[in-house]
Amino acid sequence: MTGINIDIIVDIIVSICLLVGTFFIFSTSIGLLRFPDVYTRMHAATKAPTIGITGIMIGAFLFLYVEHGIMSGKLILGLLFVLLTVPVSGHMISRAAHRSDIALWGENVRDDYAEAVKAKENPENTE
């Protein structure tokens, strides 16, 4: 009797993990379509998937461990590497976008980086 109950509880936990993960990844794709420019889209693309992938990986890990008794280290490693690489790629893409002179969305936006780049380039041009 108790065995069945534990099975059901584990199933529910695994389903919740998977559903939360999928929900966050789905939200990311909607965010990618809805947001106005590269930078705000990078916000959506770097933040929500981390928790989405965490949810899916942990769900898969729990399922494999409980159903088949496999401790899958690969899933945990995958999670770790996603957490390490996502912010780096977000940083590089938005930096590349800024260097290709893609303007920020909105009116009268504050942009300290553009000013810094201009200040660095101008003295060289005048000399």
Binding site: F24, S27, Y39, T50, I51, H91, A116
Partner: protein
């Protein structure tokens, strides 16, 4: 600190030999006993007790996880908001961190926290340019990051 870790591993291996069982769990219990010994004898060992730093690393990880979950909820809220009333902008964040390793960590932490995304690091490593989703009060944003992340990183590395 490396000396203390080495000592701790040595104690764990000795524990393994004394209890004559060569499994990971014995090693682990030996390691725990080593931590206890180092804690008791910390007056006679050079440098500060290294577990203090480990605890600080754990604190940083807990802070990071909390901020990560908050940022996810915030971005999902924005995604499903019918009208986008955001005001994005890029501000310069002055940082006191020096080494490449610390700055990389700070930039990555900024990228994964609510409403901010690090765009670039200035050549002399003194400024990090941060894109904010909703930039109303620049000073508040700067002090917020400085109070939480920079402080926590400095506690770990110094």
């Amino acid at each position: 600190m490396p000396f203390q870790i080495l000592l701790n591993i040595l104690i764990a291996v000795m524990w393994m030999f004394m209890s004559e069982s060569y499994t990971f769990s014995t090693f682990f219990s030996g390691y725990l006993i080593g931590i206890l010994l180092l804690l008791v004898l910390q007056r006679f060992i050079p440098d500060a007790f290294y577990m203090e730093r480990v605890i600080k690393v754990f604190k940083l990880m807990i802070l990071f996880t909390k901020e990560l979950i908050l940022s996810n909820i915030e971005i999902v809220k924005l995604v499903y908001k019918p009208k986008l009333d955001i005001k994005p902008g890029i501000f310069a964040l002055p940082t006191e961190l020096k080494s490449d390793w610390e700055i990389t960590l700070l930039a990555n932490l900024i990228s994964l926290t609510p409403g901010t995304l690090s765009i670039a690091v200035s050549d002399d490593n003194s400024l990090i340019y941060v894109h904010a989703m909703h930039l109303e009060d620049t000073e508040a944003a700067i002090t917020d990051i400085k109070e939480t992340f920079e402080k926590a990183i400095m506690e770990v590395t110094r």
